[in-house]
Amino acid sequence: MENLDFGTIAYQAIFYLFAAIIVISAAMVVFSRSIIYSAFSLLFTLFGVSAMYVYLSADFIAVAQIVVYVGGILILLLFGVMLTNRITQERLLTDVFNLIPSLIIMLAVLGALLYTFLYRAKWHTGEPRTTTVVEPIGYEIITNYVLPFEIVSILLFVALIGAAYIARSEKKVSLGK
């Protein structure tokens, strides 16, 4: 056995802990019968994925994930849950019809992905990056990725204006007379 010191053991144990948090919470999002349980399990999944980004030395992406996904998208989804269900109703309709074909397709896709990743693909791995990612992101944004950066900001603007316009409350009938 190589250096089996406490650092390596703790590193691997916490990685498996976060991986278990992600998988179990994602399973609860998908299999739970109550919408509120699904929404809050999605919260734990997003926090677990953010921890994985820290393991991958992408600390800026980890914080951006928490701010944008947990603080933005999850709140939006919770508002959607609140506004589209009566508050006392927590049961969902049963998903009996699509269950078996979906299970077959899910296991087939998972098997194909795992087989391709682990046995057939020869990834070109270089030197792992170990430094922080904030300064390279800043450098790339203003040199190599200027155009996507500007276009994405315009796209966000347009999307938010469009979403606010679609979801407005007072609608006049606008088609025909």
Binding site: Q12, V29, T45, M52, L76, I137, Y145
Partner: protein, 102 residues
Amino acid sequence: MPEIGLNHYLVLSAILFSLGLFGIMTRRNAVVVLMGVELILNAANLNLVAFSKYNGTMSGVMFSMFGIVLAAAEAAVALAIVLNIYATFKTVDVGEIDTMRE
């Protein structure tokens, strides 16, 4: 226990992707379908950042950052559409929104 390598992150993102796919195919509530879409987008971002770390380049991280921004825009527009569906049909059950079907 092998050293934590690229394969661990690939397996994790494959599991997340297939769970999100199952959520999209099975659930009848439109908001839960959107949660499945968010799971798939998170799996793709995790994959990109994992490859960026074990390759040493920066393109995976930049791709993933723009992916996070686009996921936010898409979630906003999708929820606006779901609110409109609720106002029109009084339900968000995706099996009942079939007036465009023959």
